[in-house]
């Protein structure tokens, strides 16, 4: 795979620091990824050389900023194999993308008595917008069951999606269970019943090659910041025939075609959705992040993460009292590992790991219904990315063992 994976650490200045006197091991990538130099420099260069507002100036800087802004749209389209760049809408992130589908497509297509189908593993951002839509319209919100190993129960998929279903919304990859859902198969089922499939790609897009056409989904949402771009920039992709039919949600500058005293016409998609001055520097950063990832290769990134997981999973499984949620076989998993240790609360575990320099997340991971489904108040979660090494996995294992020891004896 060309350059040795561990050497990518060099591109991330933030990772070269000590935390609590220990070398930092950053394992909170499912929350947000660190940014390589190339991304930070692209943003800096934009502000130092090209900054201007887009689509509304004839001067040279405005021209440059507009070109950069629109070139990234094309880049994103290639990145997820969208048929057209005009299907790429800039948003603040996955949450906004999903909210827009619910508020625009959902509000104009869902009626009382219709069904919206999601699953128990959804992040709140792919749950609450649908719950709100259901409440507003009188539609019914239904949940797909999970198997005991955390994978989607396909029998339940077939059972819950019916001719009354208008929207199916599912995570592509879970932010808790480390599973990837078979969207292509589910899209076929949804389409047979005349429903659209909305995919939450927040946890998959940073880690694997995305092809929205192969997946067969109708909408696909993801965030920039989880794939090394800055916060505050994300993408909503939708099939053009669906986007054309959707009303804009934010009115103002940039998104209009012609404004008269009593009436306004709007631009075509995607611009009709992008009211007001956009996060242009964020878009530039997103472009640089995609360049960075593609230079390494999404398949290589996935292979590397699998290699780390293959090594670390069995070692974690050997720790007595450690429960891992989701499939126990490493080859069925992404780089997200949620766990609990003995009867310890995950917050206590996360504080102890932090003292060892290992950064993990603890809590409900914005998935309270899933926590209830798993019958746990919260979990700790370690999540890996391309800059994490086998040694990082080892550090996690050692830190968990030390934590177990500490709380057993009340001392070390």
């Amino acid at each position: 795979m060309g350059k040795k994976m561990s050497s990518y650490i060099e591109d991330f200045p933030i990772l070269k620091q000590k935390v609590n006197d220990e070398q930092l091991v950053y394992l909170d990538n499912a929350a947000t990824a660190q940014k390589p130099r190339a991304v930070v420099e692209a943003i800096m260069n934009y502000y130092y050389h090209d900054n201007a507002n887009v689509h509304r100036g004839v001067h040279t800087l405005a021209e440059r900023a507009t070109k950069a802004f629109e070139d990234v749209r094309t880049k994103v389209a290639h990145f997820i194999n969208a048929p057209s760049k005009d299907e790429i809408i800039y948003t603040k992130g996955t949450t906004e993308s999903l909210n827009w589908v619910a508020a625009s497509y959902g509000q104009t297509h869902v009626e009382a008595g219709d069904e919206i189908v999601i699953s128990y593993m959804e992040h709140h951002s792919n749950l609450v917008p649908w719950q709100q839509l259901a409440q507003r319209t009188g539609a019914k919100l239904k949940y797909i069951d999970l198997q005991s190993d955390g994978q989607l129960d396909m029998d339940s998929v077939r059972h819950q999606i019916t001719d009354k279903t208008v929207i199916v919304a599912l995570a592509h990859a879970s932010n808790v269970l480390g599973v990837v859902n078979p969207l292509a198969e589910i899209a076929k089922i949804a389409h047979q019943h005349g429903a659209v499939l909305v995919a939450d790609g927040a946890q998959s897009t940073p880690h694997m090659k995305i092809d929205v056409q192969k997946l067969g989904v109708d909408f696909f949402a993801f965030s920039g910041h989880k794939l090394m771009a800055p916060t505050g920039i994300g993408i909503l992709w939708g099939k053009s025939e669906l986007l054309d039919d959707m009303p804009p949600l934010e009115f103002g500058g940039e998104m209009i075609d012609w404004v008269q005293l009593q009436e306004t016409t709007f631009k075509k998609a995607p611009w009709k959705f992008e009211g007001g001055t956009q996060n242009i520097a964020g878009v530039v950063g997103l472009g640089a992040a995609i360049d960075y990832l593609e230079q390494i290769g999404m398949d290589n990134i996935q292979k590397h993460e699998h290699a780390v997981i293959q090594k670390v999973m069995p070692e974690l499984q050997q720790i007595e009292g450690l429960t891992i949620y989701g499939p126990q076989e490493a080859n069925k998993r992404t780089g997200v590992i949620s766990f609990n240790l003995d009867n310890l609360h995950p917050h206590d575990v996360a504080t102890a790991l932090d003292m060892e320099g290992v950064a993990v997340r603890a809590g409900h991971h914005c998935a309270q219904p899933l926590m209830e489904y798993l019958n746990v108040p919260a979990t700790a979660r370690a999540s890996f990315y391309l800059y994490n090494t086998l040694e990082d996995g080892q550090r996690l294992v050692e830190a968990i063992k030390a934590t177990k020891e500490f709380f057993k004896n009340g001392t070390v």
């Binding site: 926590m371 919260a378 030390a402 500490f406 001392t411 070390v412």
Partner: protein
């Protein structure tokens, strides 16, 4: 190094309170029944208080949470029995100040065993865990003359 610093947070007495919490359970009749959540972590705490002659006569808590939140709740319940709302106000203020690093000289006197939670100040991410039970008792014995005087209450509400 590493975990040795943890001993500043997880003192033996704190671990004991967390494992064997005092006043854990529920009251048959309570004058106040309060449920508080810590939305960032999903912790939940139910606090019941019985008042007699202007003082807390009995108290019970239940819910789920980490070592710090459970120990803090256990210690809080020990310390407030027999106290008036005015006394409890002072204790809550002293506790809030202590865990945010402004320890006053009389914390031992005011807070008794709960003063051992001063170590939380070195772990900013865990302050909310420690204060949950104290927020609950502050609400439970709410007096008229206090108007969101506490930083941590203002911050979260």
């Amino acid at each position: 190094m590493a975990l040795s610093k943890l001993e500043n947070l997880y003192r033996q007495m704190i671990l004991e309170h967390a494992t064997h919490p005092h006043h854990h359970g529920s009251l048959e009749k309570a004058d106040q029944d309060i449920e508080l959540r810590n939305p960032t972590c999903g912790d939940v705490l139910t606090l019941q208080v019985e008042m007699k002659d202007g003082k807390v006569s009995d108290i019970a808590f239940s819910g789920s949470g980490c070592t710090i939140s459970q120990a803090s709740a256990s210690m809080m319940t020990d310390e407030v029995v027999g106290k008036t709302p005015e006394e409890i106000d002072k204790m809550v203020v002293a506790f809030s100040e202590m865990v945010t690093g402004n320890e006053s000289d009389d914390v031992d006197e005011l807070l008794g065993d709960a003063a051992i939670l001063a170590g939380v100040a070195q772990f900013p991410a865990r302050i909310k865990c420690a204060t949950l039970a104290w927020k609950a008792i502050y609400r439970a014995v709410k007096t008229d003359d206090k108007k969101s005087t506490l930083g941590f209450l203002r911050h979260d509400e």
